[in-house]
């Protein structure tokens, strides 16, 4: 359990993180989503004591990070997979973690296996690693102490599609066994695949947070029929306001069950009925962060 309470970071007159509060709960993967420079990394550094907050607190299982007697055993942290001495081998980096945390030496080989780094790769210096390999090594280092909380900054960065899928399965499994996962990303698609809960941040402020399913629900429904006009009439008859999208489908804020019922009552044959998921959340992401985005793209 990670509890963030009114966390604020100011650099002189600039406020980078503005009074954010949220909780990442056990058994769930919480996605910390926001455009570049939104304050995600600063927030995460404050959670693990690398940056001192101007105001507010961050606690892990009720305790400040600095008060944990052996932090690596309780919180696995990966803030930047590339932040390693380039001259050390992957195996050495895990061995350092294993020794300082005081866990059995067998943990190193175990973790190399979990993150699919071969013994030959593990004996190479990380200076020659690809970003994807560094991410795997970083995840392994975070897991060495068998912690119950994971804090990962952009863990899917640099992974290929198979790697992202692997990461999703790994974190899903970890959360299913009662672990708490907080991961950040600037890519909506990644968070959407991996997270249960989403905290969206823009220019240091939380713009929305909640369960992914609810947020998707709020994003509305997309519906399409063989006869578009008949569908519009059926929805109107049921009192559901809808708008026609460019591709001819209808978009409404009503939930899919209600839309399906209306279509059924109107005798309309549907070819598509779904929550606006990806598209909807993306729209929300762009909309919510519109004032805070660096680039105001029309798209």
């Amino acid at each position: 359990m990670i509890t963030i309470d009114s966390l604020t970071k100011k650099y002189g007159a600039t406020t980078v993180v503005h009074d954010i509060s949220f909780a990442a709960r056990p058994g769930r993967v919480t996605g910390f989503l926001g455009p570049n420079g939104a304050g995600k990394s600063t927030s995460m550094r404050m959670m693990v004591g690398l940056t001192t907050p101007t105001e507010g607190t961050a606690t892990i299982a009720g305790r400040r990070f600095a008060d944990l007697p052996n932090p690596g055993r309780e919180v696995g942290v990966m803030l930047d997979a590339s932040a390693q001495h380039a001259g050390r081998t992957g195996r050495e980096i895990l061995t350092i973690a294993q020794q300082i945390m005081g866990v059995p030496a067998t943990r190193v080989a175990e973790l190399l296996d979990i993150v699919s780094l071969t013994p030959a790769e593990a004996d190479r210096r990380v200076g020659g690693y690809s970003l994807g390999m560094r991410q795997r090594l970083g995840i392994a280092a975070a897991l060495v102490g068998d912690p119950s909380v994971l804090i990962l900054d952009e863990p899917a960065n640099g992974l290929d599609p198979a790697g992202i899928r692997w990461m999703r399965d790994l974190l899903r499994d970890y959360a299913d066994h009662g672990g708490t996962v907080l991961l950040s990303s600037h890519l909506l698609s990644e968070v959407e695949i991996i997270a249960d809960d989403i905290v969206m941040i823009g220019q240091g402020r939380i713009v929305c947070q909640g369960a992914k399913s609810e947020l998707l629900q709020a994003a509305g429904t997309v519906v399409r029929a063989t006869d578009g006009a008949a569908l519009q009439r059926a929805l109107a008859a049921a009192g559901i306001p809808a708008s026609v999208a460019d591709d001819g489908s209808l978009r409404t804020e009503a939930d899919p069950a209600r839309v399906g019922r209306a279509a059924y009552d109107g005798g309309v044959v549907l070819t598509e009925l779904r929550t606006a998921d990806s598209g909807g959340l993306e729209e929300m992401f762009l909309e919510l962060t519109a004032d805070t985005q660096r680039e105001r793209t029309a798209a």
Binding site: T52, F65, R73, L79, D80, I100, Y174, G179
Partner: protein, 271 residues
């Protein structure tokens, strides 16, 4: 994927019942890991190995080139000890600055959140390396002295007292601390190394020039010029005034900047 099949058991956070109270990390463990980190990169390994290598070269050079009448134990110990005095501060400095310059501090300080503890462990590790190197230097010097005097056909002279040996050790620890303090104050490998060479090569020369030309500075120099005061330690302490010079030099060069540096280490942001 093969990887996912194994995750269920190995990543399970509740598989092992959580210990009610996790034991704090003992300082000895932090020191052991920091000591390991000094050797586990190619650059770190060769930096420390160079102490031994230059020590051996110095022994050979002394045997080959030193005039017979100065072929004594002190000559050997001095020649072998010189590389230690130069290289050890770099070892101490880099062990601190690399956490920032290589950004490994992002993980190091999440394993041990008390940064003063990490820096303390690094300093202790450097002291351990220093003592080991000096034992090596004294031993290599002894071998060099026996072999060298035998080759030259002169009597073997043991002219280093225990007290003098101890002040040499102290002198080297002062040098090492210059590296530690610079590392804490600057937290940058490149900047730290440049400043280190400015301090130990340029400043003593400028200070000597100033002392030679300015009357007022001539009397002040031993009090404020730490490398100058250090030469007392290396050459053997004779007077109480010399100890006072070492003390003021250490206060000005190490204690005060060290306090500032430690504050910076504890407060600065690790990115």
């Amino acid at each position: 994927m093969t990887a996912t099949a194994t995750t269920a058991t190995a990543v399970d956070p509740v598989r092992t019942p959580r210990r009610a109270e996790i034991a704090p990390i003992p300082l000895s463990r932090v020191v052991r890991v920091e000591l390991r980190k000094m050797f586990d990169t190619r650059s770190g390994f060769w930096l420390i190995a160079s102490i031994g290598i230059t020590g051996l070269l110095a022994t050979i050079a002394t045997v080959a080139f030193a005039p017979d009448d100065v072929l004594t134990y002190y000559t050997f110990a001095k020649a072998i000890g010189f590389p230690i005095t130069v290289i050890l501060p770099m070892v101490a400095l880099l062990s601190i600055t690399s956490e920032w310059s290589q950004r490994s501090g992002l993980t190091t300080f999440t394993y041990v959140s008390s940064r003063e503890r990490v820096v303390g462990a690094k300093t202790l590790s450097a002291v351990i390396v220093a003592i080991a190197s000096m034992l090596f230097a004294f031993a290599a010097g002894a071998v060099g002295n026996v072999v060298g005097s035998a080759i030259a056909g002169v009597p073997t002279v043991w002219d280093l007292s225990l007290g003098h040996a101890l002040t040499i050790v102290l002198g080297n620890l002062v040098s090492l601390s210059i590296g530690t303090v610079l590392g804490m104050v600057l937290r940058s490998s490149a900047g730290g190394l440049v400043m280190y060479f400015v301090l130990v090569l340029l400043v003593p020369n400028l200070s000597a020039l100033l002392a030679a030309s300015q009357e007022w500075y001539h009397d002040l120099q031993p009090w404020v010029d730490l490398p100058y005061a250090q030469t007392f330690l290396f050459d053997g302490m004779h007077t109480g005034a010399e100890w006072a010079h070492v003390l003021t030099g250490v206060t000005l060069w190490l204690v005060l900047p060290g306090m500032y540096g430690l504050r910076r280490v504890m407060r600065s942001e690790v990115k």
